[in-house]
Symmetry: C2
Subunit: 581 residues, 2 copies
């Protein structure tokens, strides 16, 4: 491609609403253009990157035996009513009425449509397993779209759906995808981690997120540097402490802690370690009758160490806390504790509550908690002496760096990541809701076992930039770059030699199938180099009169500080040897 | 591709709602699957065809210097309000409100968005010309979607938009596209015609439709077999008759024609040629005041020969009839003619009307028209004698086969076509509405000259099928076939030789880059052959024990009645010599 036949549009400054570096750089490099909140045009430079992502994903999905189709963007609401998602999904689901007043949605994913296809097309176990995928435009009406392509409303996703005859086969299909995803992310040339994720109500361990590692990532990733263990924060288990509880050594004392309403304040005030304090979180669960009215409410007290934070997903796994869970109201707290938040504790309650104790709290001795009286805490509290031994001891905290790895092979570390892929075993959730059955070997109808597998096609370039950039701009891995090589002729209009050498190298690389750009815009070298460093092309060849007189050109790799002189006669083969595509 | 790794789903019968052959065959061949009215999933077999169309279009658009981008499917209403199309487009425009109540549309085309991009990005004449294109999902909420992909609601279109500094440059850009379209349609391997089309209010001749010729086509195409002339019916000019009007030879006579309310009835009843009768069509145009109320109405009488039909587009070009045109009401007709329709004519009016006379009527002598009295016509009417010579003589009829070609190089013929592409010079319609200007050489802002260029990507396979099918199914041109070659091993499970020969040929063709399918489903030959004839793969190789014993395989081309025996050793090179891709 020659620059004169392409469209290059770079900006010195990013627009004010671009907060994260990938958004800023994609705007400045002319890769995307905002049309509305969370809605972007993929400009020619950006579309090339997205098409490279698509090509790699398509190739590996095909290699893994998945079959491509393309489901509609606008989908009738009827199928979404069959699974209940038309009602249960919030306003992120973009709903439309057509000219006849019939309800439709703009697809955020396609479980309903693909299950509808499967239940019509797949009649016999002989047709299974099958994996259908598409690369299509999706829409999610985010309340607060931001960060450019990172959290946009319209986006492109590769979504795949596997159908199997039984759980064993479904798990095998899942593993085929998990393996294909590793190949895909390896080919992208990004640093990533496949982490275990929560598999929701379905259970089992068949849920992994593919996270591109970046300091600016939204997600905390937990991993063990000395083993293969990796999980997201929701999933990572905090093991029960190995050391037994110490014996009580202090008397229980009610202590004034005026205005000290947080564990941190109390620890400082009392000059004790934060881990020796216990925080009280009060939840409530509502039971409703058939009319949907609340007929019974249960109040729960969760105890966590002062230095720990609550893990919502783990709390949702506690028997009784799965659904209709909320924080208790001030009135409910007063009714049960006779006190305002900040000084709550498990001792001296006005009305009984259900107690849930984190594993680390269960092994504390001589601990400190609120006295259920404003401005007072109790010190020297001990299980079995001052209150009964807890009978519901569970893991409800987020792990922290240094915790033992659940696989017993080291200690945990934490880094940040951006989720760009997810493989997930669905079980029969959708096939049951939509009555998608096949006939098994005995001629008996069975629900299909399903899995779903997503990759955020337009999110991936943003994640790649968060991981790979410097103060001058983007640094693309070869596989994702809009152009792998750029040739920058210096003052070509004044030097026939420069023009001839540039044209010849361009022709040679084109013939070799290299995705090469010849910058024939006639820009000054400084502006030209700045553009290509911003755009992030990984290999640049500067061709100027001075070096050319000695038979050389300048080879500048985007990641390297300095250019190297390479003989003009060798540059094509040097490049071809270096490219990783 | 091996059939076992793909998804093949054929039907014996088409569903009842499939009316046209392409819809029936695409459903039966498992290429599309209906999700809702006018909304289809592209199944794996159909998606392959669509992807081949896309690849050819993309390659030729790039070759022609157009630059690909991708605009959003969901677009803010604001831009559509700037051009007025948010209001003026009917219910075909699918409108949505997002969670905040802001208005959006699902794109039917993207003039607004691309003009918005151009007005932001293009500042100087130095950046022009530029041509942006996309291949993207579109939606048009048709009142009566039908014919499968032919007139669906959701579809894929390639839409391109050129921007130029002046008309001369815009016309050059238009010609580049018109030429690229010819290359594209040549590569598809279809019989097509580029026909002149009406260019609407803009005028000029820069509007051509690309019509795939098919007996079942919705459009009538006019062409001259002995010259290059081709136009659609709206556009094709009916030249003024060369022979002068004959002298009057009959007296004017009021004649009873009881119950004869059509020209055909009158001609039969009076035993005269239909062309000697004149039909009267009564239109009205309304003038409105600023409040939008009708303040003045003009009634028009159009005279056409009884054997001709009115051409709406030509009528719209008559001065005064361009806008707010409608058929007159019965009351208006009675007020001016004193008679009901069926017996109207230009003689003896109660109130004056504006007269518009078709060129052929102006040269009639001794003609017949209504007497403005029920059950009576007038015969022997003559211009200049019985009524004044007409002063508004224009072409308002549809041409018919046998008319002289407007280029003077022969006579016109008519055939049917399916419109799958359109190139169109837009002028400054959108750039003026959206204030898209650039600075010219003198630093003066000028409106950009635009053109737009569409290809119906998902419509094209349907048109190809309407043109290429037989009683057994689809006959794809090589370039569009989902697979170019299919290998059908016969009883491979019982013959290791058949299996080995099939696998070897498959491997050889794969290596040669041929899009080959190996049918390893183990179906019986009859069912297997029927499937591939229905699906329309152009080259089939049957490998069976009997022929193999003599070193042969059967080569069956989809268009040919019989298979030919070809030595196994030669079949790959025979195929490679025959493929047109």
């Amino acid at each position: 491609m020659k620059a004169s036949q392409f469209f290059i549009s770079t900006l010195k400054e990013a627009p004010a609403d671009a907060e994260v570096v990938s958004h800023k750089l994609m705007m400045r490099a002319g890769m995307i253009k905002k049309l509305g909140a969370g809605i972007y045009t993929l400009m020619p430079m950006g579309l090339r990157v997205v098409q490279k992502v698509e090509a790699i994903v398509r190739e590996e999905m095909n290699r893994a035996g998945a079959v491509e189709l393309s489901m509609p963007v606008v989908q009738p609401a009827e199928l979404w009513q069959q699974t209940g998602r038309f009602g249960s999904m919030g306003p992120e689901l973009l709903r439309i009425a057509d000219r006849h007043g019939n309800d439709f949605v703009v697809q955020p994913t396609s479980e309903e449509v693909v299950t509808d296809i499967a239940r019509q097309e797949i009649r016999s176990y002989k047709q299974l397993p099958k994996n259908f995928y598409q690369i299509q435009t999706k829409f999610r009406d985010e309340r607060r779209p931001r960060f450019g392509l990172m959290r946009g409303r319209e986006f492109v996703m590769k979504d795949a759906y596997s159908f199997d005859r039984d759980q064993a086969s479904a798990k095998a299909s899942y593993q085929v995808m998990a393996k294909a995803y590793r190949r895909i992310f390896d080919r992208f040339g990004l640093t990533y981690r496949a982490v275990a994720a929560d598999s929701g109500a379905i259970g089992g361990d068949l849920s992994e997120e593919f996270q591109v590692i970046a300091a600016t990532g939204e997600d905390a990733i937990v991993y063990c540097p000395t083993s293969d263990y990796a999980a997201n924060m929701e999933k990572a288990e905090a093991l029960a402490p190995v050391d037994p509880r110490k014996a009580a050594s202090q008397a229980m004392v009610k202590t004034p802690t005026p205005g000290m309403a947080t564990c941190a304040d109390v620890a400082t005030f009392l000059n004790i370690p934060l881990w020796n304090t216990v925080k009280s979180l009060v939840l409530a669960t509502d039971e409703t009758n058939v009319a949907g009215e609340v007929c019974k409410t249960q109040v729960w007290l969760l105890l966590l160490r002062g230095d720990d934070s609550m893990n919502e997903v783990k709390v949702s796994k506690v028997p009784g806390l799965a659904t209709n869970r909320r924080f208790a109201t001030l009135a409910e707290i007063d009714e049960h504790f006779g006190c305002e938040p900040g000084y709550l504790g498990p001792l001296g309650l006005k009305k009984p509550v259900k107690l849930v104790v984190d594993r680390e709290v269960a092994v504390l001795a001589d601990w400190v908690c609120g006295a259920n009286e404003a401005d007072f805490h109790i010190t020297g509290v001990n299980w079995g002496r001052d209150l009964p031994e807890p009978n519901l001891v569970v893991d409800i905290r987020n792990v922290v760096a240094g915790d033992p790895s659940p696989d017993g092979l080291g200690v945990l570390a934490i880094e940040r990541g951006i989720e760009v892929g997810h493989v997930f075993y669905l079980g029969t959730k959708y096939s049951q809701a939509m009555k998608a059955t096949f006939l098994d070997q005995n001629g008996k109808p069975q629900f299909m076992e399903m899995g779903c597998y997503g990759i955020g096609i337009t999110r991936l370039p943003a994640a790649a930039i968060e991981q790979n950039h410097d103060e001058r701009g983007i640094i693309w891995p070869d596989a994702l770059a809009p152009f792998t090589v750029v040739i920058c002729p210096i003052n070509a209009e004044r030097s026939p030699d420069v023009k001839a050498a540039s044209d010849a190298l361009y022709a040679e690389l084109m013939t070799a199938g290299v995705d090469v750009m010849l910058d024939d815009r006639g820009e000054r070298p400084g502006a030209m180099f700045a553009d290509w460093e911003l755009i992030g092309v990984p290999h640049r060849v500067n061709i100027g009169d001075r070096a050319l007189k000695e038979g050389n050109v300048e080879y500048q790799r985007r990641r390297e500080a300095a250019a190297t002189a390479v003989p003009l006669a060798d540059i094509a083969s040097v490049l071809l040897g270096n490219l990783k595509v």
